[in-house]
Symmetry: C2
């Protein structure tokens, strides 16, 4: 059998799958940050263009992918589904492992699946500039890439510590024509308020989001909107092409997974692979769906399900989600990405519903999995992706202990060849397994005391 299962371009899915239509217990509404009352589409209008707001609240199961988006997708999609035969041999367990290689996109991750869609809808809506934040830089470079195809200006607020440590991501954005600055900046109120407290702030995703939203809303020269690379319903929607392709590819070889695995920061690559299979699970199919997160930012495994702001300075609507509190920042020792304080509401709801099982993995085991992967499957994974590989290792070990055969499908969400400084830290013994003390989490959760509680 071929290692690589290739879906012909003309069989690429032409609709996104909206799991909102199939949720067993529905969703709780977002709340307006001022009134704390359910927020409607009109509340989001200054931030997002109407077509994306419509997708955000849509209950339609299938949403057509516009032809110009499909055209750009065809640059790298359909992505290969690959049988990881070498890693299987290395694990010596009764498992078949298929990985969906989202690292083949020009920015090197799954992120352009939604970036291209968002750039397209903004363009159609007459928007001339997009503002966004980025952490490690995967999202910022994906949006820069997407904007270059639709002729939209792109401004990226990059978490300062990553801006300094990951110059290559910033340079990628520059090649595609975007403007990338280190956040916090002194050009927004949000940035200045953080710098006033700590002039040397390394930044955080929450802060960068605040800056990007503020810059988008305050822009007066050209029509400007904000873009988010994860968390929101419409972002997860756009990623579902990943799982749909994987399903078709498995059908081509007559297979179906027992276990579906993805790493989860905000939740988008995980949801992209998992939701089309969660649909089957909701309909009664027996299948295990694992979201892998870091022990240093254990949103789903140790945070409560609560209403919380999406950003640090409390400008965004409140979302019902697993959260560590909107001012949580993972400890500096954490090198594995996935640093967001919350989790996508759709993923959170499905965890609550027992459809999705969260697990957490520490620094050292994730890099160990990544190095073993590189030495067997060849490709160097993003540190984020290594969390998913850790879950693969755990499931395989368990299958071996139980003597049970398992078919595993994992989202290889991106390559790590511009995140190699994290591998350097691991290989030179500078990483350790920092365990987040209970009181750290309790302290962080103080930020959501007094906010409305979901039912």
């Amino acid at each position: 059998m071929d290692r690589k299962i290739i879906l012909p371009e003309d069989q690429m899915p032409r609709q996104w799958y909206n799991i909102a239509a199939d949720l067993p217990n529905g969703m709780q509404p977002p709340l307006h940050p001022g009134t704390m009352q359910p927020a409607g589409p009109e509340d989001l209008a200054p931030i997002f263009p109407m077509p994306l707001i419509e997708q955000e609240v849509s209950q339609e199961r299938w949403i057509d992918i516009p032809e110009p988006v499909l055209d750009v997708y065809r640059i790298w999609r359909p992505t290969p589904l690959v049988r990881a035969t070498n890693f299987e041999k290395f694990l010596d367990a009764p498992v078949k492992i298929y990985y969906k290689n989202e690292g083949v996109s020009p920015p090197g991750s799954h992120k352009p699946n939604t970036a291209v869609a968002q750039a397209y809808y903004n363009k159609e809506f007459g928007i001339k500039r997009l503002c966004t934040e980025t952490g490690a830089g995967q999202w910022g470079s994906a949006l820069a890439f997407a904007c270059s195809f639709f002729g939209i200006e792109c401004k990226v607020y990059m978490v300062r510590i990553s801006f300094e440590q990951k110059p290559y991501r910033r340079l990628m954005m520059m090649v595609w024509g975007a403007n990338c600055v280190a956040s916090p900046t002194d050009t927004t109120e949000s940035g200045r308020s953080i710098l006033a407290l700590n002039p040397d702030s390394p930044g955080s995703l929450g802060i960068a989001i605040s800056e990007a939203v503020e810059a988008a809303v305050a822009s007066e020269d050209v029509p400007t909107r904000y873009c988010l690379g994860s968390v929101l319903n419409h972002v997860l929607l756009h990623q579902t092409i990943v799982g749909q392709e994987a399903k078709k590819q498995l059908e081509m070889v007559g297979d179906y997974p027992d276990v579906v695995i993805g790493c989860a920061g905000g939740g988008s690559n995980f949801a992209g692979l998992a939701f089309p299979f969660a649909q089957d699970k909701i309909a009664g199919k027996e299948i295990q769906i694992i979201g892998a997160e870091p022990t240093s930012c254990p949103t789903m495994t140790r945070g409560p399900f609560a209403y919380d702001f999406g950003d640090t300075v409390q400008k965004t609507p409140l979302l019902p989600m697993y959260t560590l509190g909107h001012d949580f920042v993972p400890p500096p020792i954490h090198a594995g990405g996935l640093r967001y304080h919350g989790m996508a509401p759709l993923v959170s709801q499905l965890v609550r519903d027992g459809i999705i099982e969260p697990r957490s993995y520490n620094n050292l085991e994730t890099f160990e999995a990544g190095v073993n992967w590189a030495k067997t499957e060849g490709h160097i994974s993003a540190p984020e992706t290594n969390h998913a590989l850790s879950a693969v290792v755990e499931v395989a070990r368990q299958a071996k202990e139980e003597g049970k055969e398992k078919t595993i499908l994992v989202n290889w969400s991106g390559h790590g060849i511009i995140d190699l400084t994290a591998y350097d830290a691991y290989l030179s013994g500078k990483l350790s397994n920092y365990a987040l003390p209970e009181e750290e989490i309790e302290r962080a959760l103080k930020a959501i005391e007094g906010l409305p509680k979901p039912q």
Copy 2:
């Protein structure tokens, strides 16, 4: 039509094509660096393992690819052949452009095609350690990758200026388990002799080759050999899988190129794509084959065809090739890779025979082509690869002027996402079109005065 033409794994070529069997005028022999007499296989035995020496001198047209090599190839091969429809639109010329995407390999370039083969044959021959040099790091990381699959120790001498400017390539090698040091080192005689003249030497490929050869020959603890990533016949041989795949893929869509293009430093990616088409040209087919090199290191376009050493300190056999002299180092302003002073003897002979047409391109036009490519085709090319894209632009422009339709096949030899500092220099206006003065070249060529001349 699909943009991507995918060859099924079971149709991957199972033999390499050896153009030595088809040369119209044969080859001149390499010369022993001591006696200046034709060098035989035994002269190479301390440096290379016998199976590779046999390939180096073989006259067999087809050489079987061993099964374990095919197994590793399958990690990323067959590589996609892609119709560059967006770049075609951008150029607005009557051309069809197909690019062979060799950037999908784990190290990101064509280099593992030969690295895997070399690691395999050395392993079979009982070798436990391989020494090599690397410039920008593509070759070193490819050999590190290959060695990790065959359990061979890998030591890489990396040109110091690249070692310092390109930490990511060194880190890639580390992830795959290799040991990478900055050349010149003080651990070899060759290195010490250079450091004695200039303690701050930025290094050069020629120096690093000298160090790696010396370290291989002098190793007494474990059986050690040297590996070269380009130039030699057996290296070019292993790359011919590229052109053979491309031929099959074009057949799948009923096409054949009018023009075949590759960038040429040592000549291996160019030869890999071009030789299977050169075979047709030698047999009478009308086809243009262009090797694109930098104006800052204009080996084929401005150097003489001469016998010269492969390295700086004159330890290797003399090869009959286009050369700028073995101590030529391109000016620091040159950011585009392809820095080797010579050119593969097989490529050189075919230039002499009129089968291959060399052209040269300058810094600015190559990066301009690369940025336009990134904004249309999405992928960011290696600076080396941008020379090939410049040739595509030139051919397309000419086709437009002449009103002639052309089908172009180009080797997209690698991605540039860890060579982004060169793009940074370009985009921030720090690059210029340094024109190498005639006296520079005359001065450099003094190094080969007094050496035997080819016929």
